[in-house]
């Protein structure tokens, strides 16, 4: 059998986006519409002038090109000469717009034949029983002379009428020659062009797949971030965690050090200043200066250091696109999505590039529904009493506004939003979808619908593109919702062997305990104390909120958020103050303040108006209720799981704390068992993180469904052990 095949079946297509990218014409150009009109005028004619033809042949790369002679498949494909002739004509006539457009269209048509070639190549590989190990191109991989071999071995001169100039260029000009090294492994098929290996860095069509950076932290937990541009620090900060960088990424402070375990990361001049030769040899580098050229595995060491004071938002939206990506470039790589977390009080909306996975920006706003009630119970009641439609419109409009603001800010068209992924508690999802809340408001607390949703984005947001998908995580029950499932997916809790505990410290303190084999969930009515609610001088995590306290020899030191003048006490401040009062014997183990504080409360600070901010006896009682709810919830879950606190491998704390909670102090007040001491880890907004992951990889929905199905709910109020544990946990004893 002769190993030459002429390809006749082609499906040439003009990709408008590629054409416009090649001539660097973007929608913000003042002449965009004019160019677009010209494009539409010539489009049809271009297709008619395209005369695709192709040929492939099994042959040899002679010795001298590579280290030794190799068997290869030569492929030649062309669109004929009419288009380039027309382009040249237009240029010579002075119609530069058409000349340029036609040339770009010709390239688009030529590249569109690639799909047909690859399909044919697959068929032929099956017939010839060959695999493809690599694709080679001249002049990058082989010298230009190989084009003469290609012409000779395919007999394309005779069969297709191709010619070669003395400069080894094909006629027609718009011809591609590619050479595929064969292998005996029939299942191997590495035939695609890989832009990353292509030296043509200036190519306007270059599309480099993002690098994968595996990150292992000191708890041996692994996360993967992807990066297309910018520094390693930016990639990590925007996608997973906060790395301290007090100097702002200037390569001075040395706090963002990482260790490369696998892969090569070049040594920068700042690395040389800060690390010894031994350290460099061990792979130590500064993340803020690192620009990797290949996939890496790195280790983070910074978690042990003291200077983390900001909440480690799971996906920290810095508000600034990673530097190195100009907004022009971002517009070129067309597809974006929104990850959304709907909280009872706040909404978080994150704009993410679907191609790179990079979080471009995060917007937050207050949930407008809150004026109808601070907690879910009042929202349920209001909804039942006729506010269902109003709530639905309110939340949709809130979200839409956030999305629009982010799009405008980054010059991204709503049309380029291809996916929206949403997480939120069960009540919020009900209100978003306009479901009746009747079942949620009474025993046995049945949701109207709890499964995942995959619908057109237009159902909720009519102005999105018709292709926009909208995904909503499934929930578990009326009390444990899609936000928890989202967090579980982000933390991979239902996929791993170690037993982990996730505690969402909000008003409705959800908890999940387990591993890939067994997952127990429950929710406990912690009340709003941890968010500063029901505390006399309580406040949210705002500048000036008292967040840290240290009492020694009757002298109290406090710290406020951002060092502003004290305005109130936030959740962490409440816990710290309680812990200090216990430690110094200013209140007894039942939670009674010493006599001289009993009436007026314990003085904490003066506010700018000169008024005393006190922690009152009533406040202490609130804290007791809240922390007892959390602690007893943990105890009951452990008991139901049949393990003790020290058998838990890792504890994640998610939720409302604006400031890093000092876990030792939380243990002092008995909120957590002492056995958790080394295992506690703040994860910030894990629900939003899960939504971002679903956005980038919709297949996670299957994992989410499995996780939701695996989860088994423990109803604390029905558990007699809970009441007992609750009473016990009320006291301030370690």
């Amino acid at each position: 059998m002769e190993h030459i095949k002429i390809i006749r079946e082609f499906h040439p297509r003009i990709e408008k986006e590629m054409v416009f990218r090649q001539i660097q014409c973007f929608p913000d150009s003042p002449v965009y519409e004019e160019i677009e009109d010209t494009f539409h005028d010539i489009e049809k004619n271009m297709l008619e002038l395209c005369e695709p033809a192709g040929i492939m042949a099994l042959g040899k790369i002679p010795a001298g090109y590579l280290q030794q002679e190799r068997e290869a498949i030569y492929v030649l494909v062309t669109i004929g000469s009419k288009l380039s002739a027309l382009s040249t004509k237009k240029f010579s006539e002075g119609d530069y717009v058409q000349g340029m457009l036609i040339d770009a269209v010709a390239d688009s048509l030529l590249f569109s034949l690639e799909a047909d070639i690859i399909r044919e190549l697959r068929h032929i590989c099956l017939a010839w029983k060959k695999g493809i190990s690599q694709r080679l191109e001249a002049p990058h991989d082989l010298s230009m002379h190989i084009q003469a071999e290609a012409l000779r071995q395919t007999n394309a001169g005779k069969l297709l009428g191709l010619k070669l100039s003395s400069g080894y260029m094909f006629q027609p000009i718009k011809t591609i020659c590619s050479i595929y090294l064969t292998s005996d492994n029939e299942h191997q098929f590495k035939a695609q062009h890989d832009c990353r290996n292509c030296p043509n860095a200036e190519c306007l069509l270059r599309h480099v797949e993002p690098l994968k950076i595996r990150i292992i932290n000191d708890k041996e937990k692994e996360t993967v971030v992807s990066m297309a541009d910018g520094t390693l620090l930016e990639a990590i900060q925007t996608q997973t965690d906060t790395i301290p960088s007090p100097c702002g990424g200037q390569g001075i402070c040395g706090k963002c050090r990482i260790q490369v375990l696998e892969g090569y990361l070049p040594i920068t001049s700042k690395d040389q200043e800060l690390f010894t030769d031994n350290e460099l040899a061990d792979g130590w580098r500064l993340a803020c200066r690192a620009v990797p050229g290949e996939d890496l595995t790195i280790r983070l060491k910074w978690r042990n250091e003291a200077e983390i004071s900001i909440q480690t938002n799971f996906c920290k939206g810095s508000g600034i696109p990673p530097s190195g990506i100009s907004s022009n470039q971002m517009k070129q790589s067309g597809q974006y999505g929104f990850a959304i977390d709907i909280g009872t009080t706040t909404l978080a909306v994150q704009l993410i590039s679907l191609e790179t996975g990079i979080c471009i920006d995060t917007g937050t706003r207050l949930n407008s529904q809150r004026i109808h009630g601070a907690d879910v119970i009042t929202r349920i009641q209001a909804s039942i009493n006729g506010k269902c439609k109003e709530f639905m419109e309110q939340i949709r409009s809130d979200l839409w506004q956030s999305m629009e603001i982010l799009c405008k800010k980054h010059n991204i068209s709503i049309k380029n939003i291809r996916r929206i992924a949403i997480a939120g508690n069960t009540v919020m999802i009900h209100l978003l979808m306009g479901y009746p809340c009747d079942g949620l408001g009474k025993v046995p607390f049945t949701p109207y619908r709890i499964n995942s949703l995959q619908i057109s984005g237009r159902k909720l947001f009519p102005e999105t593109d018709y292709r926009t998908d909208l995904l909503i995580y499934p929930g578990i029950s009326a009390f444990v919702g899609a936000d928890i499932v989202s967090g579980l997916c982000a933390l991979h809790m239902a996929e791993e062997e170690p037993i982990q505990l996730l505690i969402d410290l909000g008003t409705n303190g959800e908890m999940v305990l387990g591993n890939k084999n067994k997952l127990l969930v429950s929710s406990t009515a912690a009340g709003p104390a941890f968010e500063g609610g029901n505390i006399t001088r309580g406040t949210g995590s705002v500048p000036g909120a008292i967040s840290k306290a240290h009492l020694e020899n009757r002298s109290l030191d406090i710290q406020t958020i951002q060092g502003h003048a004290p305005v109130g006490i936030c959740g962490t401040g409440v816990i710290e103050l309680a812990a200090e009062l216990v430690r110094n014997g200013e209140m007894d183990e039942t939670g009674r303040l010493k006599d001289h504080w009993f009436e007026s409360g314990f003085p904490v600070a003066l506010d700018p108006q000169g008024e005393q901010i006190c922690l009152t006896q009533k406040d202490i009682r609130e804290i007791q209720l809240a922390k007892a709810a959390v602690r007893s919830g943990i105890e009951v879950l452990l008991a139901n799981y049949g393990i003790t606190a020290d058998q838990v491998d890792l504890v994640y704390v998610a939720g409302g704390f604006g400031y890093q909670l000092d876990y030792e102090k939380a243990i002092v007040i008995g909120m957590f068992p002492a056995a958790f001491s080394e295992k506690l880890q703040t994860v910030g907004n894990s629900s939003l993180r899960g939504a971002a992951e679903l956005l980038c990889n919709p297949k996670i929905m299957r994992k989410a469904a499995k996780t939701a199905a695996l989860a088994e709910e423990i109803n604390l109020s029905a558990d007699p052990a809970f009441q007992e544990a609750y009473m016990e946990a009320m006291f301030f004893e370690e």
């Binding site: 973007f26 002449v31 400069g167 080894y168 260029m169």
Partner: protein, 211 residues
């Protein structure tokens, strides 16, 4: 003159129709065709070139402006011939042998035209002898060579060497450009000028012939 200024402004906006009409109107008013060309059309193109160089505008805007310039020149040409207007110089331009990239070369050609040159485009994959033959035939002042590949940029040297062999090197100004080319490479192969973008190429060429 207001109308000349208007021609320049419409050209910068890429309004071919307006440019055409205004050029005709200016001719009808008896304005010197050379003035219409230099102070109207070429002036507008020069401003566009400057903005392009400073990244204030991008390729599509330049294309549209150049198209408008050409529309104006088409009207103007017969009159320019009548008054015996000579271009400021003649350029042969091409992409060197073994290289098919022509967009960058086309942009340079376009900007050179905008600067008042007559441009003879030799296309792509141009053999060294063709550069020389055409330059001789067309009585050119400048030879412009473009290369987009590291493997083909050395072919620029072949042209220069061949010119030297034929004792023609000093007859021509030689300009080179393209992604892998830089100043030191240009010096190494004995070219006269390297320019990093199309707009600077036009400016440099203008300065070189007027020197």
């Amino acid at each position: 003159m207001a109308i000349i200024q208007e021609i320049s402004e419409y050209l910068q906006k890429g309004r071919a129709k307006n440019v055409k009409a205004l050029v005709q109107q200016a001719l009808d008013e008896g304005i010197d065709p050379k003035e219409i060309l230099n102070k109207g059309l070429l002036n507008g193109m020069m401003i566009i070139g400057g903005k392009f160089k400073r990244n204030e505008i991008f390729v599509p805007e330049v294309l549209v402006a150049a198209r408008a310039m050409n529309a104006g020149i088409t009207i103007l040409k017969p009159k320019l011939v009548e008054v015996g207007n000579e271009p400021i110089g003649r350029v042969v331009i091409g992409t060197v042998e073994g290289d098919l990239h022509d967009i960058g070369k086309n942009l340079v050609g376009m900007m050179l035209q905008g600067a008042g040159f007559e441009v003879i485009d030799l296309g792509v994959d141009v053999k060294p002898e063709v550069f020389i033959e055409k330059a001789e035939d067309e009585n050119a002042d400048i030879i412009c060579m473009s290369a987009l590949l590291t493997t083909t940029m050395t072919n620029m040297q072949n042209v220069i060497d061949m010119l030297k062999d034929q004792n023609l090197r000093n007859k021509y100004i030689i300009m080179v450009g393209g992604a892998p080319v830089n100043e030191s490479f240009a010096q190494e192969i004995g070219a006269d000028y390297y320019t990093p973008d199309a707009a600077s190429a036009a400016e440099t060429a203008k300065d070189a012939v007027l020197k």
